[in-house]
Amino acid sequence: MISLTLHVWRQKGPEVRGSFETYRMKDVDPEISFLEMMDLLNEQLAGDGKVPVVFDSDCREGICGSCSMVVNGRPHGPGEACTTCQVRMRQFNDGDELWIEPFRARAFPLVRDLMVNRSALDRVIESGGYISVHSGPKPEPNSIPISHPVAEEAMDAAECIGCGACVAACPNASAMLFTSAKVHHLNLLPQGQPEAKSRVLNMVHKMDEERFGACTNLAECQDACPKDISIRFISAMNRDYQLAALVDPIKRKGTLESQ
């Protein structure tokens, strides 16, 4: 059993000033998860007649991407490649002091306490992070073989859970890792080719519009990513973007219009 001192960011709403409040937790079982510890804190607060801390969480197994806490300066806390919900209290020592803050970025307006609004990431996807299909009949999947390494690379990029830790970790609050993971996943696959150029252009422009910062290649995002998404996808997106932005689209010779 360990005891902890928690400094938790409390803020009633986006318009109100926030501040840290300090709580002491005694007899925390080291086997429980970080969020179970937060549940206990909330039970303790409710018992004391105080208002519990608001934080996002859902699946509690590291896949939904709801958690949005920065623990001691690290998005998702001290674990390697895991989300806050996967952090176990055994990673802390008795007497530790923890600073718990929300993800901070202009593009992620605070909702309350540790809860932020990450819908900017949805709007980036909305601008081009898809392959347009209807539900009607499709070609047989094996008619377009995709080599194993390409499928694996696409999967590496597709693993992104959209938690926004990359933005939280980036000194510039940049969403390049998030955006590039989706661009790379779809632009790599043969199915994604028809929309490849408009996809990368629109998604990058949308990302800027949402007021994320720019990439300075510091790789903080990669280290904070719970799914180990690599910054090499950022490089791939940079290449795709240049080709799409600077190289003329194929001249439509031979179409009816030009004849």
Binding site: S33, G47, G79, R88, I131, V133, I146
Partner: protein, 638 residues
Amino acid sequence: MELNSAIPEGSVQDKWGNHLEHVKLVGPNNRPSYDVIVVGSGLAGASAASSLAAQGYNVHCFCFQDTPRRAHSIAAQGGINAAKNYREDGDTIYRLFYDTQKGGDFRAREANVYRLAQLSTRIIDQATAQGVPFAREYGGHLANRSFGGVLVSRTFYCRGQTGQQLLLGAYQSMQRQIFDGKLTMHPRTELQDIVTIDGRARGIVVRDLVTGEIKSHAADAVVLASGGYGNVYFKSTNAINSNVTAAWRAHRRGAAFANPSYIQIHPTCIPVSGNFQCKLTLMSESLRNDGRVWVPKQKGDTRAPSQIPESERYYYLEEKYPSFGNLVPRDVASRNAKLVCDDGFGVEGSDSRAVYLDFKDAISRQGKDVISEKYGNLFDMYEEITAQNPYQSPFKIYPAVHYCMGGLWVDYNLMTNIPGLYAVGEANFSDHGANRLGASSLMQCLADGYFVLPQTIGNYLHDIFRDKVGTDHPAFRQHEADAKDRIDRLMSIGGSQTPLSLHRKLGDIVWEHCGMARNGEGLKSAIDQIAEVRDEFWNDLHIPGGADGVNQSLERAGRVADFIELADLMCHDALDRDESCGCHFREEHQTPEGEVVRNDEKFSNVSAWEFKGEGQAHVKHCEPIEYDLLKPMTRSYK
């Protein structure tokens, strides 16, 4: 209440084709004037919402998460079944149908399950076209793995994140429709009530979880894709916020709730580790492909697993079920884990409620690298949670609540008995009978959302053309007032117990008496205990904070209130179904070896329960299940 399953004419194989030829349609020019509400944005909700919007309907989709991509479908790990027969190992549509029926212990509608098997192959085509990165072989073709309860390899997968990738495919399709203005997303919004006018579903009342505001939305049809209710057990593999509220509110407004006691307990979960735990972690059943399940032959053996020689290990699944071995269906695997632990063979720790799942043989046969490529993320996850390395010592596993076969009663068109109210995915009861096979839930959700609902909804909508109702209708005012009253009631109790502690109390009761094994005595006592919890809830609840703005305690309180009512119905249903079938194991009905004993004469039916009002007993309606293509037999995996 009348249950008309609306199953089309013709042989089982031809029903869906015939139905499509005769179903009524709405023309593309008229579709934009129809509003459709979809509640839930998981696989079923997202696929339905995106398909309907792509067809031209004006769709509004609601979810309580901050973005639709977080719905709990994302946690499905193992894979999705499809009768593609890529391996030429004897798979056919009929065999997928047969396996699903047999897995469900012959308690599902033939027509629905056959349609599911028929549509399964198109799901793979659809997902591939969306860019879902299914695992590929070196030749570039799609790879397969096998799953419990079947003798073919028909499961498609994306590492251990199949649900995530399929959901992202559907989510991305949704985002595209949002961009096109055909779909409006309402995140952080929770359903409070279904509005019915003249017996038809006409809209919903919701609470904005950020502002606390109660709002109404009117529509021509309402689709519930709100998932399962496994969280009634408090500890389950479901997401912490998954709830029954949408389905239960619909039920209270007249929708029949079918087979509530059919709950699947998943065999390969990480055992419970402490009192504070509120979430159990599932590891894909695909682990059983290569892992071997065993317990020490000697009771209370405290040696480390590596110190126990082969001759002193009891591979109980392999010994009892030689032909399926470790790949028996989930209910069988779970029940046997419970049996060996009840008999005192459970392994050290976790109150001896755990068995070993050993990869030693697989690693020595295939090499660590191959195993790591197949299951690496699961091994890592286990190590992260338990601080034990499964490459060196075996996994410890124990069953946990996972999936609800029961749900809102729907007809062949996926419409509940309230006209205009549909239920898709896990929220309905339709396709899995009394037990679901692994990798079938993704299949059902996507079949419902991409292919069934978009085709059948026109059959209803064409009929109500130009018969519009807006939110200014007095019924909306009334329902909004009801929702506000309920919240005020919850806020004003002023007791001392938090919703979380009452939820835990409820969960313990249901798990004890309506879990993996049930008996008449236990169920009766559970019903009494649930009534006590209900009293405690409404007299001693404490919700800190206010109702304006974010209040997660209030959110949970609303959900727990519905879980309490559901738990009562579950126990009544389990008590009423005086037979064993699939996951529903009544201890009174078993063979000497502990296998289930069905009673087809009396219970070859669906129990659909009707809500009669506060404090009144539910009324049961039966929809008989008849078999043309199959002859129900005793399930055997020996």
